[in-house]
């Protein structure tokens, strides 16, 4: 299965996302923001970073890129898309997901191992998790506070579209402790924390068993592979 990873100018975690896809058993395909051609990939990851320096608004300039426009078109037809951190911001700026992401409440960039609860396991990217499973993956952002108007929030909760919620600590002031969302169809998922940084023993978050051994992020990429095989 071919999973594309888009690189924008200023993208940082593209190689990490490719590594994660490889470790999960997929074939990563690098995609360039200026190319509309998505090389017939079966799914797309919009990775983390600071596309265009996060200037103006995070993700706003990247949302205009030809590759993003094509992702938007294909996502509406069901292409699985995962937006991580800056990628989530691009999805929000492209209106594939509702709401917005603003400066962290405490005004600082924050990097920490973050506990989450997986609340929706029917998306393309979460089908291997158990309902309400608690996982720990790294979080690192300066503008990760999720906001939406009351109606949108109500709709998201009612339709079970909050996929991940922060546990123990709300690291950025997100409304309803929201860490990640999906679209109506469940093929597009965006979240602030970084599953691609928890895929390889020795380089992930600390766990009770051993230091830096957390690999909870691997299931995201294995999930989409399973979803693709089944579809």
């Amino acid at each position: 299965m071919k999973i594309g990873v888009i690189t924008y100018p200023g993208t940082l975690d593209d190689r990490d996302a490719q590594r994660a896809i490889r470790l999960a058993g997929g074939t990563p395909v690098p995609l360039w923001h200026a190319d509309q051609d998505l090389k017939k990939v079966d799914a797309v990851v919009l990775p983390g970073g600071f596309s265009y320096g996060d200037y103006l608004r995070c993700g706003a300039i990247a949302a205009q890129a030809p590759a993003t426009q094509e992702v938007v078109r294909l996502a509406k037809q069901g292409l699985p898309v995962l937006g991580i951190c800056n990628g989530f911001q691009v999805l929000v700026e492209s209106h594939l997901l509702p709401g917005g992401l603003i400066r962290n409440e405490h005004q600082h960039f924050i990097c920490r191992d973050q506990k989450l609860r997986v609340e929706n396991t029917s998306t393309a990217w979460t089908n291997l998790f158990e309902q309400d499973q608690e996982i720990t993956i790294p979080l690192k952002n300066g503008e990760g506070g999720y906001i939406a108007n009351p109606d949108t929030l109500k709709m998201l909760e009612a339709e079970n579209r909050v996929v991940f919620r922060y546990l123990d600590v709300n690291p950025n002031g997100s409304m309803n402790d929201i860490a990640g969302l999906t679209n109506e169809r469940g093929n597009v998922v965006g979240l602030m924390p970084h599953p691609e940084h928890a895929v390889e023993p020795g380089f992930g978050p600390d766990t009770d068993i051993a230091m830096r051994s957390g690999v909870d992020g691997l299931k995201f990429f294995q999930s989409v592979l399973k979803a693709l095989v089944n579809s």
Partner: protein, 763 residues
């Protein structure tokens, strides 16, 4: 575009025609004899552009004129054995060290102290940007950064301004570049109040064959400036020239600060690496201090050739810049490449892909001359070497400080020691929560340590460690240290102590120390007592490196860190790089499991002068720093490496500020594993009282935890290698750290005290 270009420029022919025209050499920081030697070199007065170039290139910052005679010993006090792994030594942008498997790493630390006091956010941010470009220039992909910070007294209101600005500036720039921050130092002391230190380190990795040098050696090759446009950043100083040659309508006051654009730098890194791999650049130089003046003259001088440059080809942000300003502008995120003509088309394709702007400024010529034109007019005509490398060399007066003997005589013996158990416990808690020993997460949580996916160790472990080769696990470890108090008491020993601590911090992770870098932060070189400190410290460092058998590969000097007559403590930051064959073998700094034995390696002496205990409990600094014995350091490092290869140790943590007491608490806090500790045998063996046992800062000591099954083997190994070893405790899951017959500390309470200090101060 409307042409606002200045036309009234000083030319070479004018300089010949009006030899006696008065020039503001003094305002530009030149000495009379320096100005005269410029006139001698040129056989006429310099043009104002030449004057701008010489003045900035001959400044202390660029020419190392006060430090040069001392820095030489880093190249001289070396054995052939030490140079074995050195691909590029001192003198280049950064040293390059072979790490095996055809790979090399390059690393360097640099200061951005003064700018970070004026504008902490931009000052620190551009400091990170500058050091990363140095690493990139060697042909390497930057793979990590670190930051060494010294701030004023925590309670002084101005400290918060600097702390906030500096940490968010580093966080902003480093995170946006996508480089993991893997460690650093944070120290508070009132001597740094008006002179905070902001040093930044970067490390990069490259294949041997990708090594690049800052050299223009082929006549006919093109000189290309690319990256950000040139603007009026950081040229406050040349305003005197601008106002001279520029009619009163022109810009009067130019900003002295530079603004960083990490996004532009990230793009520049990817663009440069693509250019390198495509093999289209013959030489490359980053633009840092002294901008185009430095890049053109150094590239030409290093290649033993010359250059012809059209300065009007420089892409500008502001068309009104004068040629002098363009030559000196310190606009960030720019590089200069030497490109063979036949590669121009490939060069253009790559930079266009990355949307990086560029312009061809001129070409390399087979002549020992740097010619710079402004349109038709020749404004610079100089031998490049005289600008870049033949700057003045000072033999500044050196004087043993008047205060030194009294300072050394004022030891800590007279300080009241803790007598009761409650007093000892209170002191332990006070030390662990004092800003210098307290948890630094308030700062380090602002840094991305995960990006790139290769970080094997980072804060709060003793070294940062990154994997270089994904298949084999080959990696490097890095630690930096400098104890300003020790150096103030004894700069020669202090520099060795900094080296010893950095070396030990690398060794405890299981890596083998291989090379050294430094950033020497001192007061004014015009003060003979400061020069004495400098002379002592450089000698100590050079001697220490020779004893340890690892070479200095590069470094940086920052003078004038003083307010009025009061200099900072001499602060030679020493960085040690180690190599580890597989990062999977790395050793963390804290207990990982219950039921392991805790051993203290090394001997403890009653050494409390200059300690955290003396400062934090008694506000005292005097006496002599702890003794350093580098042969013992080496023995200890070898032992840990041997034990690590055999998989005998679960954790290792070096003992430094705060002594054994603080080290034990840190090791417990790391993974929240408790311990039961007994000190009586140690006190008997080394003849110590409680205070010395807990708080002495004797060197060459490490605490390790060892699984029961490896106990016998481990002890035998220590004995075979002659390293003193003593079992002082066991780890447990009690949630307590219990000092037998002394104190029962609840780990949660200790953690609260340890973590709340910085947030309470700087929130």
């Amino acid at each position: 575009m409307s042409d606002r270009r200045p036309t009234n420029v000083d030319t070479v022919s004018q300089a010949a025609a009006e030899p006696d025209k008065a020039q503001p050499w003094k305002e530009l920081g030149l000495k009379e004899d320096e100005y005269q030697s410029i006139r001698e070199i040129l056989g006429r007065r310099p043009t104002s552009s030449e004057l701008a170039m010489y003045s900035v290139m001959w400044s202390e910052h660029c020419s190392y004129k006060s430090s040069k005679i001392y820095l030489r010993q880093f190249g001289e006090k070396v054995t052939p054995e030490m140079k074995k792994h050195l691909l590029v030594g001192m003198g280049e942008n950064a040293g390059v060290v072979d790490i095996g498997e055809g790979m090399a790493v390059t690393f360097k630390v640099e200061s951005h102290n003064h700018p970070s006091y004026i504008e902490p956010f931009q000052g620190a941010a551009t400091g990170v940007g500058g050091i990363v470009r140095d690493i990139l220039t060697m042909g390497a992909r930057p793979i990590a950064v670190m930051d060494q910070l010294r701030f004023g007294a925590p309670e002084n209101p101005d400290t918060a301004r600097v702390v906030h600005g500096v940490t968010s500036g580093i966080s902003f720039y480093g995170n946006c570049l996508g480089l993991p921050n893997i460690g650093g130092e944070t120290v508070f002391d009132k001597v740094y109040q008006g002179n905070p230190l902001v040093n930044a380190l970067s490390v990069g990795a490259l294949k041997h064959e990708d090594l690049k040098l800052a050299k223009a050696s082929n006549p006919g090759d093109l000189v290309i400036l690319f990256g950000a446009r040139t603007g009026a950043d950081g040229i406050g100083g040349v305003s005197v020239l601008a106002s001279e040659t520029f009619e009163s309508t022109g810009p009067t006051k130019r900003p002295a600060v530079q603004v960083g654009d990490p996004f532009a730098e990230k793009v520049l890194i990817e663009c440069c690496l693509e250019l390198f791999y495509a093999g289209v650049v013959a030489g490359i130089q980053d633009l840092g201090g002294a901008g185009i003046s430095c890049a053109t003259s150094e590239l030409a001088s290093n290649g033993g050739k010359g250059m012809r440059v059209q300065l009007q080809n420089v892409l500008l942000r502001d068309e009104s810049l004068t040629p002098e300003e363009i030559l000196m502008s310190e606009s960030q995120e720019r590089m200069m490449a030497i490109v063979p003509k036949e590669h121009l088309a490939s060069f253009e394709t790559i930079v266009k892909k990355w949307e990086v702007e560029y312009s061809v400024l001129g070409e390399v010529i087979d002549e020992d001359r740097l010619y710079i034109n402004w349109g038709e007019k020749e404004i610079v005509n100089v031998p490049p070497r005289t600008v870049a490398h033949d700057g003045p060399v000072y033999h500044r007066p050196v004087e043993y400080p008047k205060y030194q003997d009294a300072l050394n005589a004022d030891g800590s013996k007279k300080l009241k020691r803790a007598e009761s158990k409650t007093e000892v416990t209170a002191q332990l808690m006070q030390l662990i929560s004092s800003p210098n020993q307290a948890d630094k997460s308030w700062i380090t949580a602002q840094y991305d340590k995960y990006v790139m996916g290769n970080t094997a160790l980072a804060m709060p472990d003793d070294s940062g460690m990154v994997r270089v080769m994904e298949d084999s696990g080959l990696g490097v470890a890095l630690a930096t240290d400098a104890n300003g108090k020790y150096c103030y008491l004894n700069p020669y020993e202090g520099a060795k102590l900094a080296l010893a601590e950095a070396y030990r911090n690398v060794a405890v992770t299981g890596a083998v120390p291989r090379a050294v870098t430094n950033c020497l932060n001192f007061g004014s070189p015009e003060n003979p007592e400061v020069m004495w400190q400098f002379k002592e410290a450089t000698a100590g460092l050079a001697d220490g490196c020779k004893e340890l058998g690892i070479p200095v590969t590069g470094g940086n000097v920052s003078f004038y860190n003083q307010t009025g007559d009061v200099a900072i403590y001499p602060t030679p930051v020493v960085g040690v790089l180690g190599v580890i064959d597989n990062v999977a073998r790395r050793i963390p700094s804290g207990w990982q499991d219950e039921g392991n034995n805790i051993y203290l390696l090394g001997t403890t002496y009653d050494e409390l002068d200059g300690s955290a205990w003396a400062k934090d409990i008694h506000n005292h600094l005097g006496g002599q720093p702890p003794k350093v014995d580098l042969a013992k350091e080496k023995q200890l490092a070898d032992l840990i490496h041997g034990a690590s290869i055999q998989g005998l140790i679960e954790s290792a943590h070096d003992i430094s500020e705060g002594g054994l007491g603080v080290a034990l608490i840190e090791a417990s806090l790391r993974f929240n594993v408790g311990a039961r500790i007994w000190l009586s045998e140690l006190m008997d063996r080394d003849n110590l009282d409680l205070t010395a046992a807990l708080f002495s800062e004797s060197q060459s000591r490490v605490i390790v935890s060892v699984g029961r099954e490896d106990d016998v083997k481990f002890q035998a190994l220590c004995e075979a290698r002659g390293v003193p070893v003593l079992r002082i405790g066991v780890t447990d899951k009690s949630g307590m750290i219990e000092f037998q017959d002394l104190a029962d500390l609840n780990l949660n309470e200790v953690r609260t005290a340890w973590t709340k200090t910085l947030p309470e101060l700087f929130g």
